[in-house]
Amino acid sequence: MKGCVILNFLSEGFLQGFDLLFSGDEEVWSAVFETLKLSSLSMLVSLLIGIPAGFALGHFSFPGRRAVRLLVDTLLSIPTVVVGLFVYAFISNRGPLGSFELLFTTSGMAIGQTILALPIIMALTASAVENTDRRLRFTLLTLGARGRRLLLSTLWEARHQILLAAVTAYGRVTAEVGVSMMLGGNIKWHTRTITTAITLETGKGNFATGIALGVLLLSLSFVLNWSVSFLRGRSAA
C-alpha cells in the first residue's frame, strides 16, 4: 500500500516536472542558467590553471614533485562542504578577502568550485602526460621538434585524456551541493543552482520542481557520460 503511494507520488512528480520544464517555468530555468554560468566560470579558471600545472607535474622532474602529486591526489576526494567551509572563512566579512564581498555571489561560488575541479584537472592531466607512449618523445625529436613545439605536441597527443579530465571535473562541479549552498546561500534568481534548488524544493515538499530539475541534471549527466565513453574509445584507438 505504502509502495503504491510512493509510486503515485513520484509519477505525479515526473508529470508535473516535465510540465514545468516545457512550459518554460522561470524559476526552474533561472537555476539551470545559474548552474551553467557558474560551472562554465569555474571550469574556465580550472582549465587555464590546471592544464599547464598538470602538464608540468607529469612532464618535468623537480624537487618535491612527489609531495605535490600526493597533495593533488588527496584533494581529489576532498568533501565539498570542507571546501565550502575554508572558502567561507576566507571570503566572509571577517575573512582576509572579506572586502571583496564575494560571499553569496556567483564569483564566490566559482572560487569554491574551482578548488574542487582543479585537482581533478591537474591529476588527470599529469597522468595523461605520464602515460603518453614512451616512443613519442623520440619520434618528435627525430622529426625536429624542439622547445615549445616539443612540449605543445606532447600535450596535444594527450588531448583526449585531457578532455576526459575536463568532462570529469565538469561532472563534479555541476553535481555538488556543499559549496553552492555554503558560499551561494541558495538565493532565488541569484545564486540558486539546480542542486541547491532540488534540496530546497524537496524540503518544502515541491516534488515536481525537484524532479524537473533532477531530470535536467540527469540529462546533463547522460551527455557527460556519453562524451566520456566516446573519448575513452577515441583515446584507446
Binding site: R135, F138, T139, L143, G144
Partner: protein, 221 residues
Amino acid sequence: MTIDARIPVYQLNDIVCGYEGKPVLRVESLSLYDDGPVAFVGHNGSGKSTLLNLLAFLLPPISGELMFQGATAGESGRGSLDATMLLQDPYLLRRSVFENVAYGLKARGMKDVRSRVVEALEMVGLSPDFARRLWYQLSGGEARRVALASRLALRTKVLLLDEPTANVDEESAQLIAQVILDARRMWGALPLIATHDLQWLDSVTQRRIFMRRGRIERQPA
C-alpha cells in the same frame, strides 16, 4: 646541407654510451664517410639501436667525443636537424596521415609542404588520397610506411633506420630497400641501417659494420 666528402660525416672517439649512467656501448674509433648506405649488423643486444640513437642525437654519450662534419655534435646542436631516424617500432602521432608526414616539415619551417608530403607518400607506395586517413585507420604495415614517409619528406643528410624490415612482409621489405636507394640517389642521403636481416641487406649495401656485445667487432677497412 653541403657535405665535405673529405671530412667524415660522423667521427666517434672513445665513446661510451648507455642508459641511466649504465654503459651498454663502447666505440673506440669509428668514421663514417658519405660513401653510401652503411649497415650495423649484429644479434639482439649487440648495441645497434643504442648506436643509432647516439648517431640520431637522441642519446648523449656518457663520455667520449661525437663529431658531426668535423664539429663537436650536441654542444651547438650541430647535426641534430641533419639526421632523422625511423624507430624499430614506429609511433604515429594521433593525427591524420598528412599531419604526420607534414609535422617535421613544419617544425623545420619548410615551404611547399603539400607537394613534399605527396612526394614522400608516393615514394613509399601510398597514393595522395591516403593523406586524409587518421592514425587509427591504418594497418601495421601502412603505419610503418607513413612513419617512413614522414622521415623521407625531410630529405635529411642522414637517414637512420632501426630494423626497418622487422614485422613486414617480403613485398614491403623490398619496397623499403628501394626507398633507401632512392633516398641516396635523389638527394644524396647517407642511410645508416641497423638490422640482422642479412639476406635483405644484400639488395641495399655490402658496407657492413659487425657488432657484438656493445662493441664494434669488424668494420670495412
